[in-house]
Amino acid sequence: MNFMHESQTVAAGKMNDTTWKEVIRSRQSFFSLNLPEIWAYRDLMLMLVRRDFLAIYKQTILGPLWFFIHPAIATMVYMMVFSRAAGMSTGDLPPVVFYLSGLVLWGYFSECVLRTSNSFRDSAPLLSKVYFPRLIIPFSIVFTNLIKLGIQLLLLCCVILYYVFIRKDAGIKVGMGLFWVPFCIVIIGILGLGAGLIVASVTTKYKDLSHLVSFVVQLMMFASPVILDSSKPISGLLGLLVQFNPVSGIIDLFRFAVTGHGVVNPGLITYDTVFALCLLALGLLIFNKVQRNFIDVI
């Protein structure tokens, strides 16, 4: 009697299975990426972006001016150290334009990687208390940085306009190349997000990796056209590193797009694009795998 009753419940449960609105399972396919759910939480993403902006500059004097100050100071330092002291070439471009154009885009990349890679740990208190699609956090970081980049592009714009209209001897031309700018930003964003997601997933278990990452990202800059002039052949190991560096082609393209000077290497750009897309796909997969249980590990 008892046994019969039991088997009936089981059967009913199976029948009902399709009518449930949501099922939490112990196992989930490796490739399941719930995009509609992420879309449903889009307001949260905007809210997080808003929070990051509002919170950073509350109780500061200069407020959003800091967005300009960072790249401006970095550019000045690089001009002094690399261009003046070390005498490194900046191609046909004035050092200001050369470094600022590289640094603005590079800053976007490195911020995306570093902030994303710490996103699990930084928001652990939040993540252990409330559920929302975890990908919202890295996405919001990329968007926050995109806005920062937008503001910094204004600074770059001013400098370039100065050279176009006042210092015409520098020979900076702005033209149809500008259409490449959004492409560069998107690829760099994808690259940063992908790398950040992978690092974020791995650092939940192995915290020592986060030290390594900030170090590697810094080194990557020194083996990239941010510092080096790619119109001159770079020999040896460094040259090889620059070739392999997945930001090289894009930074050159960006510099060409905003100044009309520099090298455009279609091979490198294709390599960067493919690399970025693969990295993002891999990052999404790993992140998706880790996010379900990371709160047990962190």
């Binding site: 949501e22 919170a55 939040l126 915290k207 020592d208 590990v297």
Partner: protein, 408 residues
Amino acid sequence: MEMIRVDKISKKYRLGEIHSGTLSEDLVQWFSRRKARRDQLTSPDESGGKWCWPLKEVSFSVNKGEVFGIVGKNGAGKSTLLKILSKITTPSSGNIYLNGKLASLLEVGTGFHPDLSGRENIFLNGALLGMRKQEIKDRFDEIVDFSGVNGFLDTPVKRYSSGMFVRLAFAVAAHLESDILIVDEVLAVGDYEFQQKCMGKMQDVANNKGRTVLFVSHNSAAVQRLCTRAMLLSNGSVKLTGSPAEVLEVYQVNHADKTDGLRDILDDDKSAYFLRWVLISQAGAGAFTARSGERVAIRASLNVRRRLSGAVLHCMVRDLNGNSLVYVRSNDDSQVPLTLEVGTHEVEFGFSLPVRHGEYGVELAVSEPDSLIDHWESSTRLKVVDKEFRDHHALEGLLSVETTFRIV
């Protein structure tokens, strides 16, 4: 209508040094595990050490409009269950079926940013709990009214009193439009008046709006008043489901540590397991108190479900810091292997305990030459009465033995 069905949910963690947190140590571990697998010494699952089960095969179901209370001691698995239900972590096995949108309030003020104003935090918090911006706008006035922080909407919440903070946080969550609401212990904060208001709101939510509430609390009075049904969790499994009065009675009786030497959770799948133990001392059998230094014995009942040959029985007494004080094995003084037939056996471990006044833990285990069959850490404490009744002091030493001093 059934809103939640939890079907045999288990959660397990690995005990011990599994994730050292650094890559190099993990790699070393991985290699040794691989080697072990190649040598076929152990199966991959068992090689990693002990498992701990915060939840074991928990099943229950909740219908629409019910306020379902979950009670249990600390460590009974309540928080783990809530975390799984609210998708913060996933079950190791089993499924959960939900018939509607679920929102959980595991902590008040989750995601509140201290530098942002009350208004900004309402939107941020609402979005975190899964509300769309428009929904929050529609309910904004209601939320502000309920929280009673009208005059401070544009003040950063770090300037709020803790009461205001909690009120605002609860207000946002209470106005969530979800079919199932999970509430954990939030009523423990805030002043009495606000607590009453929250309880009223929760009752209202369940009765009038037909929403389902899962309520987890230590507060028996609140469970009694709010809930229509309740469940008692103990050591990760469901002990009882029923009316709040019924469940609370059992909960309150079992709240204290067990003192009867009985085992409360049994694993039916083990081929042998201990059922209970008693202490045999001069005070008589059945008590759990020994005088320090006297000759005592732990008598344990062991249920054997298949014939065991070469079995070893173990008994260990530990102090509350985990130091092993006494360890008795069935093969200590005989080399003849022990053979146990199917059935219940009474066994006795004799020893003396010349230790200080206090409580001590008892562990019993049975093993075969190549595997551990059962290991039971009893929740019943062995009490030792010391002759001198001195204050227990860290400097005093573990042993209570005769000591002398003289100048030679």
